[in-house]
């Protein structure tokens, strides 16, 4: 295998880890409350602008931007839950879908109004020079984003499956009334789920901003991949999002390199349809 093909795979894994990080917040909300957050991409967009503001106003790099974005976005998540989601959950399915979609547009056009349509980028040296191992170049921002992506996904998974808080959250997801009878407050658990999901989205956004451009519509561009990743990996499954993200990254890279960039989506979506055909619940979702 030639060096350049190894580079294609490595680059694919790096972007794939970012897709996984991006998608884990989305899948978490689904697993907890059976709600699709259509504003997810725009949450990421706001986190990217947070990173940009932290850099331009405070002069801080990602080390400062990541915690700030996590806290800000977690707050936004809780606010969205109490002010919007809690109410639309009582409405018909369509209201739930259109409710978060409306939130997405509100956030996107607020960003247009406040930040303007200009593309912003952080200095490309903000995380140092790329790593070169045996001729393979590993871009530092992507490596950091990818590794933190893996770590956050792992922590979320452990939290859900190994902690008392996670058990309570899952209980609410399974049967809110029964959980309430057991002394768990469903609303509090769901607010925690929104805080966790939006907080991890904040981390994702602040890291993606180190190697991607930031604009009011960037969430739209990235969200398509996030939805595919979630469906591919299985709705509600955090490890599923991880596996699917990495797979999509590598398949995209290889098909773009060998067949051509315009065909990569054909290959990815064909595979996506085939997987859903044989496993409608996704790679690692529960049937």
């Amino acid at each position: 295998m030639s060096l350049i093909v190894v580079q294609v795979i490595v680059s694919g894994l790096l972007i794939g880890a970012v897709y996984a990080l991006f998608a884990s917040g989305l899948t978490l909300i689904w697993g907890m409350m059976n709600v699709i957050n259509f504003a997810h991409g725009d949450f990421v967009m706001l986190a990217m602008y947070t990173a940009f503001m932290v850099w331009t106003v405070l002069g801080g790099g990602p080390a400062a931007a990541v915690p700030i974005a996590a806290v800000l976005l977690a707050t936004l998540g809780v606010l969205s839950y109490f002010l919007l989601v809690r109410h639309i959950m009582k409405g018909p399915m369509l209201a739930q879908i259109l409710g978060t979609f409306g939130l997405a547009l509100l956030l996107r056009y607020s960003a247009f109004w406040y930040f303007g349509a200009n593309f912003k980028t952080l200095p490309d040296t903000i995380l140092g020079a790329p790593l070169v191992i045996g001729g393979i170049r590993i871009d530092a921002p992507r490596l950091v984003a990818g590794s933190v992506g893996l770590l956050v996904t792992l922590l979320l998974h452990l939290l859900l499956t190994r902690s008392a808080l996670g058990s309570r959250m899952l209980a609410v997801a399974e049967d809110a009334t029964a959980a309430q009878l057991m002394g768990i407050r469903p609303e509090r658990m769901q607010a925690v789920a929104w805080a966790l999901a939006a907080g991890s989205t904040g981390i994702a956004g602040a890291l993606i901003a180190t190697f991607f451009y930031t604009s009011p519509t960037v969430g739209e561009t990235l969200a398509i991949v996030a939805f595919v990743t979630v469906a591919f990996g299985g709705f509600g499954s955090v490890p599923g999002a991880l596996v699917a993200g990495l797979l999509i990254g590598v398949i995209e890279g290889l098909s773009a390199f060998f067949i051509g960039p315009v065909y990569k989506d054909v290959v990815v979506y064909l595979l996506f349809v085939l997987v859903l055909w044989t496993r409608p619940q996704g790679l690692m979702g529960k049937a």
Binding site: I4, Q7, V8, S11, G12, I15, R108, Y109, F112, G116, A117, N118, F119, K120, T121, D124, P130, R137, D139, R142, F211, F212, Y213, S215, P216, T217, V218, T221, L222, V225, E252, G253, A256, F257, G260, P261, V262, K264, D265
Partner: protein
């Protein structure tokens, strides 16, 4: 007492009548619909174009005696329509041909505009101008360069910008000159976004280069709305061509600039076909990563005191950036349309169409570096032209042809 009251009432009535007459005169406006990408991935470029069109309208509607060569600058409004003002209704094409088409229909049927201008992306100009053609409304296209736009036999379509063939010719001449000067141009790659704009420009360049004996060894079409361009850059890295020509919009241009540095690959001559690489937000965010990038432009501010420099100053005062090429061309389009409406002396669509056909602006009467504006039977401006610029120290400097150059061409490409 009574008489004083009376005279006061009379005065008020007279004043009211006067105010009413003034209002009636002010109400006479000519409505023009402008369709641009105000949201979506090209929103940055679209909003700069909007600002440039607003400046054109300001110049037409208000008195600007200092811009004496520019038609309609001195005096207010359109003199042959009794000083009527131009009112532009902007509509957002959202970066999609379908949204552009809907907006065109809305502007024509609901806003009742007398003419349309737009729509930045070639693929969207296709659908919006088809609406105008169907309804018999003049459509001025200031900036879309896909070759086939003027090959549709349209009667209401007028394109002010130079087109793909002109650029391909300029690139071919430029590269042959560099080859003669000892630069490597033995293998050429074209990387193009795959909508109307990128595909048509790439195929015209390929055809022209084939005739000129310039070897195109690699063509990489891709989707502009992409999250990752690493595979494209690795494809280039593998073939390692001497020259690469990018035909890209803004978001993808930024990703290419970053990714080429990340993967440490550059050609000896890198050419960008305007569009994304000329967007002021590309220049400010990524200019330092593409030092020595060769580009094309139809606008350069020029010497202080020249018409283009004065216009650039006016634009910069409002928007805090230099007037870029695409926005300058949008502005020129608006000025051409206003000039035609004025000469038509009417808001009748057929009369405006006839006036557009008779347009004859000289080189000194235009803001862009065109040799003038004059349309052929297909609606193409036959006097449009462009020059070659190079990124030097964070801004584009005209470097070719020599008689229009403001700086020395520096090769090979430096990058970051």
């Amino acid at each position: 007492m009574w008489s004083r009251k009376f005279s006061l009432t009379a005065l008020c009535t007279a004043l009211l009548a006067l105010a009413y007459a003034g209002a009636a005169a002010a109400q006479q406006t000519v409505k023009v619909g402008a369709i641009y990408p105000l949201s979506g991935n090209a929103a940055s470029a679209g909003n700069y174009s909007k600002a440039a069109i607003e400046l054109a309208v300001d110049i037409i509607n208000n008195d600007h005696p200092e811009l004496k060569d520019l038609p309609l600058a001195a005096g207010t409004g359109l003199p042959r329509l009794g000083g009527a003002k131009i009112e532009v209704v902007f509509a957002d094409n959202q970066g999609t041909p379908a949204a552009g088409q809907n907006q065109a229909l809305r502007l024509i049927t609901e806003e009742k505009v007398q003419a349309l201008i737009g729509a930045y992306q070639s693929g969207i100009t296709v659908t919006t101008s088809a609406m105008a053609e169907r309804h018999g409304i003049p459509f001025v296209n200031p900036e879309s360069v896909a070759a086939n736009l003027t090959e549709r036999g349209f009667k209401w379509f007028f394109r002010v910008t130079p087109v793909a063939g002109d650029f391909a010719r300029a690139y071919a001449d430029f590269l042959k000159e560099q080859k003669a000067a000892g630069q490597k141009v033995g293998s050429i790659a074209i990387v193009n976004e795959n909508t109307e704009y990128g595909n048509s420009v790439a195929s015209v360049i390929r055809e022209m280069f084939g005739k000129e004996g310039l070897p195109v060894v690699q063509v990489i079409p891709y989707s502009a709305n992409t999250t990752d361009v690493q595979p494209q850059v690795l494809q280039l890295k593998e073939k390692n061509p001497d020259v690469v020509i990018f035909v890209s919009y803004t978001s993808d241009a930024i990703l290419y600039a970053k990714t080429m540095k990340d993967l440490n690959w550059k050609p000896s001559i890198m050419i960008a076909d305007d569009a994304g690489f000329n967007d002021p937000s590309f220049v400010s965010s990524s200019g330092s990563l593409v030092e020595g990038l060769v580009n094309r432009s139809s606008f350069a501010p020029g010497k202080p005191g020249s018409l283009s420099a004065l216009i650039n100053d006016l634009y910069k005062k409002k928007n805090n950036v230099d007037l870029d090429d695409a926005s300058a061309r949008a502005m020129q389009g608006m000025l051409v349309l206003a000039d035609a409406i004025n000469r038509a002396g009417s808001t009748d669509a057929a009369k405006i169409q006839a006036a557009l056909r008779a347009t004859d602006l000289k080189a000194n009467q235009v803001v862009t570096g065109y040799n003038g504006v004059k349309f052929d039977d297909k609606g193409q401006n036959i006097l449009a032209s462009s020059l070659i610029t190079q990124m030097q120290g964070g801004s584009y400097v005209p470097v070719w042809p020599k008689d229009k150059a403001a700086g020395e061409l520096k090769l090979p490409y430096k990058g970051w």
